[in-house]
């Protein structure tokens, strides 16, 4: 019985070294009796309607995914595609990032099924052995404590998973759209207010969703900057905190006053980015950041009390 389904989502780049790593891991996994594995094109370019995603949705057992993205970006991109589960803990971390910032455990969504999904960033290990050893470690973990699937049994993964040869015939629908981390999102609706392109909407459950990803403006990560929880991921953005890097969020223990001491404000940066996208769309730039805080601070009520209240704040 196969115990673990492993999918490698290939890099969108033509880099031969990346291809080599992908092929090396696939070859090693072919020798693992408990693993069924397959390779697919770049995860971020898949749409919900793609046949490959439909077949992945039918896998109800433990799933391990490798991609050239941060684990948090992988998990929530899969979630968006209807492939849901609990976040599996992994021990492979890149050497160039402080260990502390990687301690954060991914938080699963509230409605995710019991099965586990492990997300591995292919950039976290530069050789086949590192990745294969981590997969073997996870396999031992599954052996030691069989994880129940939804129907209470260890189900074999349906086989075979269709192996898409190329996306060339069906160019991906969306190259650039936000992915919401529902483990962090607190439904404040700030993104819904901020985005003027109608990307976000509220579903029947009252949750904010990426309703129209096609409306999103390529290169614009502005809503991610205004999100107070840093819950909006643009997996392909060059800035790690926007691309879903581990631990990248506002320090919740302490206030960050850099903005008051001369740092370019994230809100200002976001407004500039949104304006560039508006102008690129032939629309007019918006003068002031339509930001909730601005609206709230206009009536200068008893805000002065805030500073005094800070003395009592449990920070």
């Amino acid at each position: 019985m196969k115990m673990l389904t492993v999918i490698i989502f290939r890099s969108p780049s033509q880099d031969p070294r990346k291809h080599e790593l992908e092929e090396g891991i696939l070859a090693a996994l072919a020798r693992e009796p408990d693993v069924v594995s397959a390779a697919m094109p770049h995860l971020y370019d898949f749409g919900e309607a793609d046949a490959a995603m439909a077949s992945l949705r039918s896998v109800t057992g433990p799933l391990l995914v490798l991609a050239w993205l941060y684990p948090r970006a992988i998990h929530w991109t899969l979630d968006r595609l209807g492939i849901k589960g609990q976040c599996g803990e992994t021990q492979l971390h890149r050497a160039d990032v402080a260990a502390d910032s990687q301690k954060e455990t991914l938080k699963s969504g509230a409605s995710a099924p019991a099965r586990t999904i492990w997300s591995l960033d292919l950039r976290d290990g530069d050789n086949v052995v590192m990745h294969v050893e981590e997969i073997q470690r996870i396999l031992r973990e599954i052996h030691a404590a069989p994880l129940p699937t939804q129907d209470g049994s260890l189900s074999p993964s349906p086989l075979p998973i269709p192996h898409p040869t190329s996306n060339a015939q069906n160019p991906p629908l969306h190259h650039w759209y936000p992915v919401i981390d529902y483990g962090r999102c607190n439904q404040c609706m700030e993104c819904l207010d901020f985005c003027l392109f109608g990307v976000y909407d509220v579903n029947d459950d009252g949750h904010v969703v990426v309703e129209s990803p096609g409306n999103c403006k390529k290169g614009c990560p502005a809503c991610s900057r205004v999100c107070p929880e840093n819950a909006i991921i643009f997996p392909m953005h060059r800035t790690p905190s926007i691309a879903g890097a581990p631990g990248a969020r506002l320090d919740v223990q302490k206030l960050d006053l850099s903005e008051l001491f001369g740092a370019p404000a994230a809100v200002k940066l976001a407004a500039d980015e949104r304006n560039a996208a508006l102008v690129g769309d032939g629309r007019k730039a918006v003068a002031d950041p339509q930001h909730r805080d601005d609206k709230e601070t206009k009536p200068k009520d008893n805000l002065d009390k805030l500073m005094d209240a800070l003395d009592d704040a449990k920070l």
């Binding site: 206030l255 006053l257 850099s258 008051l260 001491f261 002065d304 805030l306 800070l310």
Partner: protein
């Protein structure tokens, strides 16, 4: 002109000596020999509260541009990056404040100075101007604090 001007931050009276000028990023500056000496204004210190960690990311002698990040402070309530207040060369850091940052709270206008620069600082403000600037700055600061403390 009085020796100092006062700006009310809630119930806290922040004092600003009139024998020096102030910058947009809430530092004071005063001529010290051929250099300009910089420190944090009471406004900045009040926002930070007890400063207990100070570090510089550039060495003395470094040439910097205005708004370059040159260091960071951490306090009981907050962290903040420190940005260069002007174009110029940093000639000296205050070793005393680096060794014991509590000097910034105890005596921010004198012994708690931060660094000296060979610079012009042509856009520095007179105390009265700075107080006007604080009116808008204070509104912004409260918005930021409200946003961050609401989490």
């Amino acid at each position: 002109m009085p020796d100092e001007l006062i700006f009310m931050m809630g119930n806290f009276a922040a004092r600003f000596p009139t024998d020096r000028r102030y910058t947009l990023n809430h530092m004071w500056l005063r001529a010290e020999g051929d250099s300009l000496r910089f420190g944090l204004s009471t406004y900045a210190i009040r926002l930070l509260r007890e400063v207990y960690f100070l570090e510089w990311s550039v060495d003395a002698g470094a040439t910097v541009r205005q708004k370059d990040e040159i260091g960071a402070v951490e306090s009981s309530k907050a962290v903040a990056a420190i940005y260069a207040p002007a174009d110029g060369t940093i000639t000296r850091f205050n070793a005393g404040a680096l060794a014991d940052p509590s000097a910034i709270n105890k005596d921010g206008y004198d012994a708690g100075w931060l660094f000296e620069m060979a610079a012009q600082a042509g856009d520095a403000m007179e105390p009265a101007q700075y107080l006007q600037y604080l009116e808008t700055s204070w509104t912004r600061a409260q918005a930021l604090l409200r946003k961050q403390t609401a989490q």
